[in-house]
Amino acid sequence: MKRLAFLTVIIIGILLLWAESDLPRFGDPDTPSRTYVAGEYLERSLEDTGTENVVTAILAGYRGFDTLGELTVVFTGFVAVTLLIRRGGRL
């Protein structure tokens, strides 16, 4: 089993590495991810949200719903762990 796992993992690695040659170079400034939406965030965030930290701006503003989701995840995790571990108590 372990041998098979190792083999599989190695082959996947080789294939992935081969496939990733289409990825932009590390630190390439001209990737689509930079040129498309990211730039807009950087340009607009200050006037839209008034925060200097663009990450915070996105977190709280543009993608605030993700953050709500994140909070929900935490909430869920909390309730889940409670459900699993706690015996007795009110929950």
Binding site: G13, P29, S33, V37, E52, G77, L84
Partner: protein, 123 residues
């Protein structure tokens, strides 16, 4: 051809790392029967993904995406993946917590944290 491949990989060494770490994580999940080890493997796998995002956001000579007013010549790194990863980190922790809670319960019920020692639970 091999040389060009190696050169291409050297230019993308971050992705190589991602792949390697990811696969270490997956290998751990497969090869280790210890439930906690599996979760450790999962963690490694997750951080590899995080690394992927962070490294793709980086720019040569870029700075952190905190706008400095007036400084027009600054190249900021892409802020969006950072945002996403903040969420992903929290998600990962929650998963880990649930997984560990399950492990604890399994230990309570079966007296072991090795999957191959748990009797009679076939898929």
């Amino acid at each position: 051809m091999i040389e060009s491949l190696i050169e291409s990989l050297l230019l993308r060494y971050n992705y190589v790392m991602v792949v390697v770490l990811m696969l270490i994580g997956i290998y751990a999940i497969i090869a280790k029967s210890n439930l906690i080890k599996k979760i450790i493997g999962l963690n490694i796998f997750q951080t590899a993904i995080l690394l992927f995002y962070i490294s793709m956001a980086d720019v040569v000579g870029g700075t952190a995406p905190i706008i400095e007013e007036g400084a027009t010549d600054l190249v900021y790194v892409n802020p969006l993946p950072h945002t996403l990863m903040l969420t992903a980190i929290v998600v990962g922790v929650c998963t880990t917590a649930v997984g560990l809670a399950l492990t604890v319960r399994i230990y309570e019920n079966y007296g072991t944290i090795h999957e191959d020692e748990i009797p009679g639970v076939e898929a």
